[in-house]
Subunit: 376 residues, 2 copies
């Protein structure tokens, strides 16, 4: 397959581009719990990402489910590095955040614009981050984020996050941070500490004090969760933190099937604001599970499990489980070949994108308001 | 003499307690310039700490002297870790700050309460730092700080400092920070980066943009200055910083004559709010340059250069050069013995302290105002 695997299996790299082969091993190594069917059934609502095991693991998610059940408040915390328009990967995390925000009227979403990380990791000036963030928030709103229960902030503008990061750094040792992240530039370690501040922000007195918090992220972000939980424990006496919970989605391969989806390889992904022709072209060029010839495929069937078109529909653009199941077996049996299937995908994706754009354009004013609201 | 010297001569430790034997070597090694008589003569005013070469070195001080001469604005930047009442060491830096503030009506003093450092280095909660800071500011005012040209802030409360520290961390490598500071807990590296933010704060657009800045400190703080100048250079494009200037005072031995003066050894120093009997006792117990017996001293004379009583008067409590010179020769010649000299010192110190306390008590309201003024 030529899929890249992580070079050092002991380290998950939040800034890396490797895929993961053996999730079970990772779960055991780092103490992550799998998302079981039983757990899924205790949710008050369903979501394709849960049903289809795109969200595959968690830490202490029971704490959030109890809060929902008992009508207690909780926080949903995540964010985005505003280094570009929303793409398929950002959409995934966004949908998870919004799902958790909408699961209970007692949930508040904390949406962090990680502009310090964009500066440190991508050398992107803060004012550029602010422009991109506006567009990102429009997408969040179009995807269904409830604007009445969200706190949007920029890292560079949130004193309480930077203060927390500074204070919590007291008990960090270089060997711990190196064990968690491997050898990275100092600036990325600082970004990591600031993310710890982000994740614990909802528990500060100004936001009502300690509360269950869920952080929906890709599993490659688990190092941040581990560091946060470690530091939350060490500073419990000063702050009374409840250890934050997390959910983890699988790392999604990009359209080329070779790498983790990332902005670094534009042919492997598309943004939600990209030219429609370009999106169509990328889908039509995607890696599939097809046979070398149409004849062979009719005879032996295709392999939807390794097909990026199927993945695109399964993860992103097809809500209907039975349609998806049907497609799976039609591919397996050779009834449908890749060209046809790509047409189905293009049609669905472009329809979704066009709908989404109409929605997002109406959100500009509200997005501006949310972005400026808490400016100091 | 039993004086401790720095264990690794390549590293100056801002958090350490070692004294320095060979200043010239240090100057050469780190590119520090000596304070020459010529430089002193170009000051528009004089100060005992300059005349007596307590302030011994500098970086780019010419830049400040030009600004004074040409009536251009400049910043004086320093601060205090609020982990205790003002003692002799804090008084020294305070007087330097105030001297530079008063040298020109275009100078603004930036006075930083390093409460994040107190948390990271001393595990001191922020609210305790705030109480102590109030007392420290009363001392600053009593020592002559002009309240109309000062910006007092707490590190934990100054978003712009923490933001700068976060952004400037981008270009720091672990090997650089380790080369500058040696092996330290991670939290102290963060404190160091925050101090970089402190030192560059006066040059932000909110404070009128790039300007000459002088940082009067003990020479053991030079690592912070070097790191700041290095990062200011690397981020010049984004911020347009002018490299900050610095002055360095010698490390003062404590009353026992054995160590750098520090809060860690209370018999070696006293605070400005300490019980007068205790101050008297410490002075009477100080290490002197006397002979084993009064008879020998009358015959051979004492050694004022190694005497902590002489040092106390020279550095702190005697403004009159000729009185000091006279005392020096009277000691050398055996005309005065240690008991008498200590009485002179006790009398001068207690008189100074009593005067100071009267002044500082009147400053409480103003100090409260300065501390709260810029609270976010």
């Amino acid at each position: 397959m030529g899929v890249k695997e992580e070079p050092n299996k002991e380290i998950l790299d939040p800034w890396g581009s490797s895929l993961i082969k053996d999730y079970e091993r990772l779960f055991t190594l780092f103490g992550i719990s799998p998302i079981t069917d039983e757990l899924i059934s205790s949710f008050p609502a369903t979501h394709r990402l849960l049903r289809r095991k795109v969200i595959i693991g968690h830490r202490d998610l029971e704490r959030i489910l109890s809060a929902i059940k008992e009508g207690r408040e909780y926080a949903v915390m995540s964010g985005i590095k505003p280094s570009g328009e929303f793409h398929l990967g950002s959409k995934l995390t966004a949908e998870e955040m919004i799902f958790f925000q909408r699961l209970s009227p007692r949930a508040t979403l904390y949406y962090c614009i990680a502009d310090v990380e964009a500066y440190n990791d991508n050398r992107q000036p803060l004012h550029v981050s602010e422009e991109i963030a506006l567009s990102n928030i429009m997408d969040m709103l179009a995807l269904g984020m409830d604007p009445k229960r969200v706190y949007v902030y920029r890292q560079s503008d949130e004193l309480r996050v930077l203060r927390l990061a500074s204070l919590l750094s007291r008990d960090v040792t270089y060997s711990t941070i190196r064990a968690i992240y491997g050898d990275k530039p100092f600036g990325l370690y600082i970004s990591a500490l600031i993310q710890v501040g982000d994740i614990l922000l909802p528990q500060l007195p100004e936001f009502g004090g300690p509360k269950p918090t869920v952080v929906p992220v890709g599993i490659d972000q688990d190092p941040h969760i581990r560091l946060t939980r470690d530091l939350a424990k060490r500073h419990e006496k000063d702050f009374g933190f409840i250890l934050p919970s997390a959910t983890y989605h699988r790392l999604i391969r990009d359209l080329t099937g070779r790498e983790k989806m990332s902005k670094r390889n534009p042919m492997g992904m598309f943004t939600l604001t990209e030219d429609l022709k370009s999106i169509k072209y990328k889908i039509m060029s995607a890696y599939t599970g097809g046979r070398p010839t149409a004849r062979e495929q009719r005879e032996y069937g295709g392999d939807p499990d390794s097909c990026m078109i199927y993945e695109l529909l399964r993860v992103h653009f097809e809500e209907d489980d039975s349609f998806l199941k049907d497609l799976y077996y039609r591919c397996k049996s050779g009834e449908i070949i890749c060209g046809e299937c790509k047409q189905v995908a293009v049609e669905r994706v472009l329809r979704w994108i066009e709908e989404h754009r109409k929605k997002r354009e109406k959100m500009r004013g509200l997005a501006e308001k949310l972005l400026k609201e808490h400016r100091i």
